[in-house]
């Protein structure tokens, strides 16, 4: 997993609420057996017309948002299906950070496993960043995970909370499975005890 410390990048505003994982990556792209190559299909139905041509009205198709790395999105981003193809598609598209007032639980977890930082802010804070993101390539937003703050192009600074274990893993690009296997004696002991107490499991 790629490390995440601090990025300075173009942010795109997507104020629509309840952007679900079907919107982020529709079903026909879930048939892959790989993690890579999904970026071209991200937001497929909003991004392309039925004939496959680009929809020029879609925010990420606009010139000002080419090379975007940050999404500033409406409430309840990533709701619906558990498909990790959603963060895989975002990452492959170039998104390293999504900022919203809330995220669906599974999507939120999935982001951390893939080097994407999801940031939860208040409505007022989000509004401020949404305005900043409207400047497109005329502006750069700074997301600093180590210091847990976001800086707008005007220099306004917003701090954010993040789980310290997740922060540690993201900053260092750590593999969860490796960390868990260090605790294998606890798992062994638990299984032994469980075999006695609930043998039907």
């Amino acid at each position: 997993m790629e490390k995440f410390r601090k990025i300075t990048a173009i942010a795109a505003p997507m104020p629509l609420i309840n952007i679900d994982t079907d919107m982020i990556i529709p079903k026909q792209f879930l048939k892959t057996i790989k993690r890579s190559g999904l970026g071209i299909s991200a937001f497929h139905e909003m991004r392309y017309h039925l004939d496959g041509s680009d929809n020029p009205n879609f925010i990420l198709n606009k010139e000002a948002y080419q090379g975007v790395n940050i999404l500033v999105a409406g409430d309840n981003f990533g709701c619906g299906s558990s498909r990790e193809h959603a963060p895989w598609a975002l990452l492959d598209f170039g998104i390293r950070c999504v900022i919203s007032t809330s995220f669906a639980d599974i999507f939120y977890n999935n982001c951390f496993k893939n080097g994407i930082l999801p940031v939860v802010l208040t409505e007022d804070e989000l509004l401020l960043l949404m305005k900043d993101a409207e400047k497109g390539s005329n502006a750069r937003m700074v997301v600093d995970l180590e210091n847990q703050h976001i800086q707008t192009s005007d220099g306004e600074v917003i701090t954010f909370d993040v789980d310290q274990h997740r922060k540690h893993c993201l900053i260092n690009g750590l593999d969860d499975i490796g960390l868990t296997l260090e605790k294998v004696t606890s798992i062994d002991a638990f299984e032994t005890q469980m075999a006695q107490s609930t043998p039907w499991v």
Partner: protein
């Protein structure tokens, strides 16, 4: 000991390791696997030389991609679907997990066959790379969806890294009115709480109306907990639960059964246990409902009319406007005047025997509207078999429905069962998202009885006027 909720009790019984910051390794009792969210996880194991830690607790079945037409054993036309199903087949056999291949009569939607085969039992922790894993909470287990990275983590370690959610109680008091079902309960709750209302919580559903539900109905309620944003939904086990589990292929037997039931009877929320959020609804107040928009929270009684965007506040105004345009609906139109093109009865929400009985009761001896796309897709091969033995299949076929083989089918259309642009469907599935059943298709969620009623009239219909 301090009073605890059902969730607290199951959580505490599964913590294999707790770090100083409260991060826990939660032991997983059952890991369900399907073909869409697992190939990258098995590939990860291969690349790191890891094994499946507990193959006997890992149950694999193909369901999302499988065609539901009778000729499916001849092979799958879509190459990508075929590769994904073949990958599951190879992975299941290579890693030695429990496996129900597509030609096994026990094959079906993973959330239907888990309970059916007795893999799902009270008090367990159950995960699957699928958000509708919440279904299994109906047994008084802690069950939720995970991503593919977590699938790999569970395969390798039989644990998940977790932090505890908050406790939420959803109480449905009293009794349901005639023709009001578990689907109406779960949709009505989401209509009340919104799709983010449960974010950060595990919901325990309780109250007389929930207690009165069969296991099938309870599974329908818990299935859509995720649509309300909750990590999981659960219902304390009782005699209804034990009776359902007894005699299932993988349920305990003999003395072990007695010990298991004795333990399961301790799985309830203590009367003074603390809930961080409580929602109470009267069963009598719940009507047969349908969704009008593109979020499961867009719920209204069938007797209502299409709302206007201006009826909402904040970010919902723009979202409602977008939904109305997508759905092709004009504010003020009576929902019962909305004509449909398709009916889908099935899915992990409503593909069980009781759902098929409810739908069959509505259409028995009648014909559906000409020209409708109408299919009934049983949730498993065994549900299909039982429905045929009970005469339900003939009722559906005589009425004009297609009678299909088991799978996820038109709930998400990863197989050929998809709708075209602007095609409007009365559906017993769980999501009405844009493009869910096919690009630009339009989904109205409802109960099996309501979908059956819509098939008869060709419009969204109040089933109470038919039965």
């Amino acid at each position: 000991m301090a009073p605890r909720t059902l969730y607290d009790k199951i959580w505490n019984a599964h913590v294999a390791h707790e770090a100083a910051d409260g991060t826990c390794l939660l032991y997983i009792d059952r890991h369900l696997v399907h073909e869409v969210t697992s190939p990258q996880a098995f590939e990860g194991l291969r690349m790191t030389g890891r094994k499946v830690r507990a193959p006997e607790k890992t149950i694999a079945v193909p369901d999302h991609n499988v065609p539901t037409t009778l000729d499916r054993l001849k092979g799958i036309d879509n190459e990508e679907s075929r590769i994904q199903i073949d990958a599951l087949d190879t992975n299941a056999r290579e890693f030695g997990v429990v496996y129900y291949p597509v030609d096994d009569v026990r094959q079906g939607i993973v959330h239907i066959i888990g309970p059916e085969q007795g893999w799902t039992l009270p008090g367990m922790t159950i995960v699957c790379g699928d958000s509708h894993t919440a279904t299994h909470g109906a047994f008084g287990s802690l069950a939720h969806g995970i991503g593919t990275s977590e699938v790999e983590h569970v395969l390798a370690t039989q644990t998940l890294i977790q932090k505890k959610s908050k406790n939420m109680k959803v109480e449905i008091t009293g009794q349901l009115s005639p023709c009001v079902t578990a689907k109406d309960i779960t949709l009505a709750v989401i209509g009340e709480t919104g799709t983010a209302g449960g974010t950060g919580y595990v919901i325990e559903y309780c109250g007389e109306a929930i207690r009165s539900l069969s296991m099938e109905g309870r599974m329908t309620v818990c299935n859509m907990a995720i649509e309300g944003g909750a990590r999981a939904g659960m219902i304390a086990p009782d005699d209804t639960t034990f009776e359902y589990c007894h005699g299932r292929p993988n349920a305990p037997t003999g003395e072990t059964w007695g010990a298991a039931v004795a333990y399961w009877k301790t799985l309830f929320s203590d009367s003074t246990a603390h809930f961080d959020k409580i929602i109470t609804m009267k069963g009598e107040d719940i009507a047969p409902v349908v969704t009008w928009g593109t979020s499961p929270e867009d719920v209204l009684p069938i007797t209502a009319s299409v709302p206007a965007a201006s009826d909402f506040n904040g970010g919902k105004v723009a979202a409602a406007q977008r939904s109305l345009e997508y759905m092709g609906l004009t504010p003020g139109t009576r929902l019962q005047d909305v004509t449909i093109d398709a009916v889908f009865i099935g899915s992990c929400t409503n593909g069980r025997i009781e759902d098929l009985r409810a739908a069959a009761k509505v259409v028995e001896g009648k014909k559906i509207q000409d020209g409708l796309i109408a299919m009934v897709v049983p949730g498993s091969g065994l549900v299909r078999l039982q429905a045929e033995q009970e005469g339900l299949a003939d009722i559906f076929k005589d009425a004009g429905f297609e009678w299909r083989l088991a799978g996820c089918s038109m709930c998400l259309g990863m197989n050929p069962d998809q709708l075209g642009p602007q095609v409007r469907c009365a559906s017993t599935s769980n999501r009405n998202f844009e493009g869910r059943q096919g690009r630009e298709s339009r989904t109205h969620l409802m109960s099996p009885a309501m979908a059956a009623a819509a098939a008869l009239t060709g419009k969204l219909t109040d089933v109470r006027e038919i039965l």
